[in-house]
């Protein structure tokens, strides 16, 4: 097990190196001279030279790349170009609000979607099944923007059930007061695709021989669906959930923006609007690392749910 994990971590290095080179290429080569972005067009040559020296842009490319690698390893990306806040502290303070929304959202989405998928798969081919699938397909076609605009208008603005936007200081207040409507919207958007996908995973299992055997030996339908079928269908479900987690961190940016939640996603949007390259660079690299780590975690979880899986 340990040997497996070490080998997998070792294999991440070339990919991570690729991500570093890609990000470096984008921001230091395609993005042009950062001194001009930073100084604007009005400052004089002396100022520009000064900034270039500070950023190390006057060095050859390989030295700049080495500076970037050092920044990643030490976690010290310097300060934001626009607010002068340390980037490490930006990431650390923006992470908790994002997680306050995303963790309950992911857990609720998984529970609801799996339960619904089991129910729909159980009555496969029936009118209920077809109606649910049609609702899902149509729901999937409406842009997330529309959900946010309409839900915020109806539930917060018109009915006043939730605050229109904002974020507090205490965790409880944030979770139950400010995060509830964002979580509700997130569920409205994410359940439809999850449900459709999980249903097909479960349908793949439901016609297998072991299901017939379980039925023949007199097990209850509940036990067959929730234990036998679900355990076998859980590998693709875990893959899907784990693979979508890091993306969700960014994917929730629209929700964070509309509700003024000071999370990672909103920070990315702000950084793009302000051309704040160091912030985007740091977040991109760390999210890529998180993606790879979550892939590894998914593989380790396979072993936990399915003893047949061999970790090689």
């Amino acid at each position: 097990m340990t040997a497996y994990i070490i080998r997998r971590l070792w294999q991440m290095i070339p990919t991570l190196l690729g991500v570093v080179i890609l990000v470096f290429f984008l921001f230091n080569w395609v993005g042009g001279d950062p001194a001009y972005v930073l100084a604007g067009k009005i400052s004089n040559q002396e100022q520009i030279d000064n900034i270039r020296r500070q950023l190390g842009v006057d060095q050859p490319y390989w030295v700049q790349l080495w500076i970037f690698v050092k920044q990643i390893v030490t976690g010290d990306f310097g300060a934001s170009w626009s607010t002068n806040e340390r980037i490490a502290s930006i990431i650390l303070t923006r992470l908790p609000p994002s997680l306050t929304v995303l963790v309950p959202l992911t857990v609720l989405d998984a529970l609801i979607a799996i339960a619904l998928a089991l129910a729909v798969a159980y009555v496969r081919g029936s009118l209920t099944d077809r109606m649910v699938m049609i609702v899902c397909t149509v729901g999937l076609s409406i842009s997330i923007l529309v959900y946010i605009i309409v839900f915020q208008y109806v539930f917060a603005y018109k009915l006043g059930w939730f605050p229109v936007q904002g974020w507090g200081d205490s965790f409880g207040e944030n979770l139950f007061r400010y995060a509830s409507l964002p979580i509700l919207i997130g569920l409205a958007v994410s359940i439809a695709p999850s449900l459709r996908l999980y249903r097909t995973f479960i349908l793949d299992e439901i016609n297998q021989d072991y299901v017939r055997t379980a039925r023949a030996k007199g097990l209850s339908e509940n036990r067959i669906m929730w234990v036998h079928v679900l355990r076998n269908a859980s590998i693709p479900i875990i893959t899907y959930i784990m693979a979508s987690l890091p993306g969700l961190l960014i994917g929730a940016f629209l929700i964070e923006r509309f509700f003024s939640i000071p999370g990672i996603g909103r920070e990315v949007i702000l950084a793009v609007e302000r051309s704040d390259f160091p912030v985007i660079k740091a977040i991109t690299v760390y999210v890529a690392v998180a993606t790879m780590v979550f892939n590894l975690l998914a593989d380790l979880m396979y072993k936990a749910v399915d003893p047949r899986v061999q970790l090689r």
Partner: protein, 395 residues
């Protein structure tokens, strides 16, 4: 060679019953299966209708004058009735002012003309782009002004108040532009961006996948490394990072962003197909008759996997239409003077609080209809082209 001519002779003799059956090919069979799929055919018809609509809009047959302010500001839909506060003009309620576009060019009221004239030191406001630049001052609005003068671009074209109507078929926006025409124009932008970037991404993915799968060995390793690099950065983050770097906005920029970042899914599928096909007998036969690598890859193998490409293309189109809407909404997408579903939703967000819901509904309905139809059509297409897969992939 003797047998066919023999049958021909017999046919001429009058037997007439020649069992001349061409066995149907992949595409014929797929079309037959698709025809039998009622949902698939209906969605195909809807998608085709949208395509015809944007074709008409590109050629200027409809929605050409979408930028004209034909109604009062926030003109409500006709079926709701005129807004009392808006002050109904006495003129006849013609939805479109019957003035040809060419006359507008000359009769544009330039709201900034006086300001510009002052800035230029009392000189008459001629075409600002051509005016001599004084004391190093560059007119930041020169290009925009030139665009307005040329009568192109998305800037609102003012219409005298008397000619404006109180209601429009499906309401008007902030400037009184017809929402129906605006939605058609917006569909043109969104669908065009979606299809163009999907074509680019599919072409890239197919090319990379073909090379990686066909050559194998270190070439495959290199492309797989490239793939895992792109795949480990969440898609939206990658798009935003590229948007941050490419400062200029435009249709081409957004097509490039989506196309250059979205090829990974296609690559994985096509690579697997090439791995499967490269050792098949027909490829060995092609090798034996001396076909070059490129010829084997694209003349021999490609037609056999083209159905996978087609399905991937339509999956990507749906995804990119959605992505374009989000990017344009955030202001990283199409330029300000181009209307798309995303920019309509951006305006609609503030209008909803004022109670003006029609632009939101128009953009949402148009987008939901197209995307639903396109997704259902994609499912039907996949089932028709590859019946073995039916029901396997939920997507």
């Amino acid at each position: 060679m003797a047998t066919p001519s023999a049958t021909l002779v017999r046919a001429a003799d009058g037997t007439r019953e020649i069992p001349h059956t061409v066995s149907p090919g992949l595409w014929t069979l797929a079309w037959r299966r698709l025809r039998a799929d009622r949902v698939g055919m209906v969605s195909l018809a809807i998608v085709a209708a949208f395509l015809v609509l944007i074709l008409l809009s590109v050629t200027g047959l409809i929605a050409r004058d979408w930028a004209k302010e034909v109604g009062v500001n926030y003109a409500p839909p006709s079926f709701v009735g005129a807004d009392i506060e808006a002050g109904t003009p006495a003129g006849p309620a013609e939805p479109e002012a019957p003035v040809p576009a060419s006359e507008y060019k000359s009769s544009i009221v330039d709201p900034l003309a006086d300001v510009i004239a002052e800035l230029k030191g009392g000189k008459p406001a001629a075409a600002p782009g051509a005016a001599p630049v004084e004391a190093g001052s560059v007119d930041p609005l020169a290009d925009v002004m030139a665009d307005i003068r040329a009568g192109k671009g998305g800037k609102a074209v003012p219409v005298p108040v008397e000619a404006r109507s109180a209601t429009l078929p499906f309401g008007g926006d902030k400037w009184g532009r017809d929402v129906v025409a605006k939605t058609i124009k917006g569909s043109e932008t969104s669908i065009f961006v979606g299809i163009a970037s999907a074509l680019l991404a599919t072409a890239l993915g197919t090319l990379f996948g073909a090379i990686a799968g066909y050559y194998g060995r270190w070439v495959d390793d290199a492309f797989n490394w490239f793939y895992s690099v792109f795949n480990s950065i969440p898609y939206l983050l990658l798009i935003l990072a590229v948007a941050a770097v490419l400062q200029q906005k435009g249709m081409l920029t957004i097509i490039l962003i989506l196309g250059l970042t979205g090829w990974t899914g296609v690559f994985r599928q096509i690579r697997a197909e090439y791995l499967k096909h490269k050792s098949r007998e027909y490829v060995q036969a092609a090798d034996a008759i001396g076909a070059s690598n490129a010829r084997r890859m694209f003349i021999h193998i490609f037609p056999n996997i083209s159905h996978v490409v087609l399905v991937q293309l339509s999956i990507l189109t749906v995804g990119f239409i959605k992505a374009e809407v989000i990017l344009s909404f955030l202001g990283f997408g199409v330029p300000v003077d181009v209307v798309s579903w995303g920019s309509m939703l951006n305006e609609a967000q503030n209008e909803l609080i004022l109670g003006k819901w029609w632009q939101l509904v128009a953009a949402t309905v148009a987008m939901a209809t197209l995307v639903t139809a396109f997704s259902l059509f994609t499912d039907a297409l996949r089932d028709a082209l590859d019946p073995k897969l039916k029901g396997l992939k939920g997507h």
